[in-house]
Amino acid sequence: MTAGSTSSPAVVARWQAYLPLVPALLFLAVFLIAPLAATVWSSLSPNVVIKFEGHGFDNFRYLFGKAYYIETILRTLRIALIVTLIALAVGYPAAYILRDLSERIGATMIIVLTFPILTGPLVVVLGWMILLSDGGPLIHPLTQMGWLKPLRLLGTETAIVIGLVHFTLPFVILTVFSSLKQIPDDLLEAARSLGAGRLQVLARVVWPLSLPGVLSATLIAFSLAASAYISPHYLGGPTQLVLTTLVGQFILATFNSELASAAAILLLVIMAAIIFAFTRFVTRFIRG
């Protein structure tokens, strides 16, 4: 009966303890798992474009058969990868610098970062549409002054990358920041007292200890970038489709829900495969 969180050290096998979990589990089973199953079923079903007997993988064969769709898949992965790398390259140093700031300033800076997350990508993308348009307050003055050749950013992959980097950056900074915060200052001071310079401390103490945070951040950034809809839709448009906007197009434009399901399942499988492979690779790398 000392202050603590559990009443017995043994694992409670009593079924009663699982009871409170049932509502949430049931809820997800009915409103997430069943719908996903329905999606799988739909992805295997014949539709207006591709007729076949019974159920099969023809929809997927169709998607893999057309260069257009292959390009979409590759674009999705390419963008996700680039966004992840840039977000990490910018986010890690930013988190590192934030870590050293005083408590109060650091806390305020963190709140400022969470604010774009809460506000939602729709609002933010509108801002990018303004900033990246030719007549907008950013490009227009720069082209007028001759610093920039007139260029079209909206409707390009670059615009999508910029938008997604913007979207994922706060998540990356926050994740890396919280993992950096867990490194006690004494460790850094100990390293300094043993003669390590700032860069060495960073390379030999901070970086290795922050790796779990970096890994989380990588996975988060990649998942967010691959599953984003709003940025690719507005900043890339119908000429620069990724898998999410492809799903959107299948439903809203071509009204082909079976192909939409196939594209969705494809996205899920690809993401799962990459995340799984990456996690496996990394844990093996850490162990070795």
């Binding site: 979990l21 949430a24 549409m129 950056l169 919280s178 439903i251 399901s261 899920l268």
Partner: protein, 261 residues
């Protein structure tokens, strides 16, 4: 040398924050722009777009719907989260990690796929798209966030207080009501508010499930933005920006909400 590094660091941070806040500042600035074509240089400051927004029936109606959907889905998600979090934290359970990963599942599925999946189920069961479906799919999406926040709150709770309540005659439910919940109230409130906001501003989850009667604000904005971008939509976006800015300040200061770590 240290000072140079310090100023380089500061410059870098300033640039990063400019990047992060840039779009938001631009939108707010342009919402006060009296120029009608968009985008165009700043003419003069005006509130006319905000006035127009407040007179715009479609936007107002959709704000109401968004609020209702957000309220209901946040309630559902938070209620489910309280029970699930309690089970996960109170006793060491066999398979706790697997269960908790499963409950965080919606985070791993792209929002648009969550919406699509619900659409498929509704279609295959021959049901109709409506407010219920919308609320439910929102609840699925926000459940992991609510769960994480409630779990963080419960983790700080001293369960010996529950034993004390029991020794004084309170059964399981009464203990929850009189002792546990009051103590985690701040965490619960912040979890609820956070879930509410996430639902309110969300677009992809709702995309395939709206009908004219159940158009949320983001959906209406989406349709609007398909055809044009003008200061009016910038005003709507700014309104959302300011509201969520205030909310995140409240969450941080009053509830000491820490989203990460």
């Amino acid at each position: 040398m240290k000072r140079l590094a310090g100023s380089v660091n500061s410059l870098f941070l300033v640039l990063v924050y400019l990047f992060v806040l840039g779009p938001a500042l631009v939108i707010v600035a342009d919402s006060f722009n009296s120029a009608t074509s968009f985008p165009s240089p700043f003419e003069s400051a005006t509130l006319k777009w905000y006035r127009q927004m407040l007179a715009h029936d479609e936007f107002l109606a959709s704000m109401q719907i968004s609020a209702i959907v957000a309220l209901l889905s946040a309630l559902i998600a938070t209620a489910l989260a309280i029970f699930a979090a309690y089970a996960l934290i109170r006793h060491p359970l066999r398979g706790k990690n697997a269960l908790s990963t499963f409950l965080m599942g919606p985070l791993l599925v792209p929002q648009i796929v969550i919406g699509l999946a619900m659409l498929q189920l509704i279609g295959q069961l021959g049901l109709r798209i409506g407010l219920t479906g919308l609320v439910l799919v929102h609840a699925v999406y926000i459940l992991p966030f609510a769960l994480r926040l409630v779990m963080a709150s419960l983790a700080r709770f001293e369960f010996v207080l529950e034993e004390a309540a029991q020794s004084l005659g309170a059964g399981r439910l009464r203990t929850l009501w009189h002792v546990t919940l009051p103590m985690i109230r701040p965490g619960l409130a912040s979890g609820f508010i956070f879930a509410f906001i996430l639902s309110f501003v969300n677009l992809p989850v709702s995309l395939f499930l709206t009908s004219p009667q159940t158009a949320t604000l983001p959906i209406v904005m989406f349709a609007y933005m398909e055809s044009r971008i003008d200061p009016l939509i910038a005003a709507v976006a700014s309104a959302i920006l300011i509201a969520t800015a205030v909310a995140s300040l409240v969450l941080e200061r009053v509830f000491r909400l820490r989203l990460f770590g």
